[in-house]
Assembly symmetry: C2
Homo-oligomer: 318 residues x 2
């Protein structure tokens, strides 16, 4: 049996480590969405997590696990999304510097958010190569620890804590659905949920415009994401070397949805649940409302993680 | 000592009557808003109430209190706002008809919402006179009971149940702030909160563009609202004959805010709390963030009711 990057014990240790630092987010329900889905849905509201996304769990676990000596030199990442904000705040809470490499094309609202949490930004050219090279330079200069956004055991274990809480609140779930980008949330959710309840069914939710995980899963071979095209801007990346084996072996299936389905689901949650969620979070909701998922038998109660709520309120999404 | 339309006993009876029919809404907090307000704020989330607004409490109390004989003839109201939807659903839950008189200028989204809850709509000319006359005709024809949106003892008592819950969750509040339009929520909140804790300070929150309550309170004499001009479309009406005496005698003060303050507060709650609130709800938040309120001494913990979350998502508010 292969060993995976994280297991239930690692998630439980992460939960003990981050308690008090992260919000225990509520689980919400909605009669209208239940009716549309044809079953009971339990929404784990990580949009209400600190920094507005589940990313704060993994970042906090990774930062809090550092030795004092390593921590003093700070943490480093390259990200323009929710992980950058999460790592910046997790570092500030521990009183250490967070160095964030961001592309010089990043919108001002994103750099401002990272700076608002005390992150120290280094701008670079907007290519993956430039980002990785710049991050390596920052690591060499500061001696800081690189904390990547998803492909890291402590990050995966930290994200899994959301599943532990969900199953404590609703122990008899038949299935859980998580959006998948790099796979940190889905893989963490998977090992935690199946660790607690080996019979639970775990599904990934992905935009058709960025369906590398779906194609990887269907073929059994890792497929990279190239030229993604979706409003779900948290789900643009390829699976990682640590997240892919877990998803390959333990997730039942990845279901995909169109941009129209994502928009409609997002609007439904804003309108009926009065919750601001980001497009990436709407992907999981859209999957549960899809004909394909509605057709699954044996799923009476399903958990869906609303992974984040960071949107640009200057624009309309529908 | 004058007798008011509702008191703590009436609110407690209402709470017993509506339990199980209404959501016990959560009380939320937000570090960012606490920092901006300079004190701890406890948000009573009536935007998460059924039909998206506190109105469902008062409507349910009034409908459930009817005798079987009266109930069978149905209920009647004239409203184009949250009360119409609330009464329609409250009636459907009891299995009786709700007749709703709406102006023929009401947007389709509002008539659709009432019909969605099973309400039977009669359209009329868009004048107060036509609405009242048409409602009287419907009452005469059906024998139904008129349940007005705020100026009714059972409605006031029902709205007060939100304050009971808030004070159960946070017993040591120093003050509460409620938006005020017709005054049903503010007066119900007031008698409930001061009934439980006579020392608690109760403030009303009003748009500068519809400041009849503020002017009434300042002069001690009821002043009607004429030509209101505000995005807070739930707060356009004058105070009622039952709500005014409570507000006159038991509310400490009504504070007003500008449209810019309302918009900014609304955006803050969407952005930082990830909660969809309507402009009327933002009025209470804006008051708590105002220099005037910040300058009050002796208020360490303040409760604010987020009265509703029904917005038109097709438009931007900022």
């Amino acid at each position: 049996m292969p060993t995976y990057a994280a297991d239930l014990d690692a998630v439980r240790e992460a939960a003990d480590r981050i308690v008090g630092f992260v919000h225990r987010t509520p689980v919400m329900t909605c009669e209208t969405l239940d009716r549309l889905a044809g079953r009971h849905i339990y929404f784990k509201c990580e949009n209400l997590q600190k920094t507005g996304a589940f990313k704060y769990r993994g970042a906090t676990n990774a930062v809090q696990k550092l030795t004092d000596e390593a921590a003093a030199r700070g943490v480093v990442t390259h990200s323009s999304g929710n992980h950058a904000q999460a790592l910046a705040l997790a570092a500030r809470v521990r009183g250490i510097p967070a160095y964030v490499v961001m592309p010089n094309t990043a919108p001002r609202v994103k750099t401002a958010a990272v700076e608002g949490y005390g992150g120290i930004i280094t701008l670079c050219e907007p290519t993956l190569d430039a980002r990785e090279r710049t991050a390596a330079e920052v690591v060499a200069r500061t001696g800081g620890t690189l904390i990547p956004p998803f492909d890291h055991p402590d990050v995966i274990a930290g994200q899994g804590t959301a599943a532990l809480e969900l199953l404590q609140d609703v122990p008899d779930l038949d299935a859980v659905v998580s959006p998948v980008g790099g796979g940190g949330l889905l893989s963490g959710f998977c090992v935690a949920a199946r660790g607690v309840n080996p019979g639970i069914r775990v599904f990934g939710a992905e935009p058709l415009g960025a369906d590398d995980a779906s194609r990887s899963k269907a073929s059994g071979v890792w497929v990279p994401q190239t030229a993604p095209n979706t409003i779900a801007d948290g789900l643009l990346t390829s699976l990682g070397t640590l997240t892919w084996p877990i998803i390959r072996d333990q997730v039942e299936r990845i279901l995909t949805v169109t941009e129209d389905q994502i928009r409609a689901a997002m609007r439904l949650v804003w309108e009926r649940m009065k919750l601001v969620i980001e497009p990436s979070a709407a992907v999981g909701v859209a999957v549960v409302l899809s004909d394909e998922f509605r057709g699954l038998s044996g799923v009476r109660k399903v958990g869906v993680v609303l992974c984040g709520g960071n949107v640009n309120l200057d624009k309309l999404y529908w």
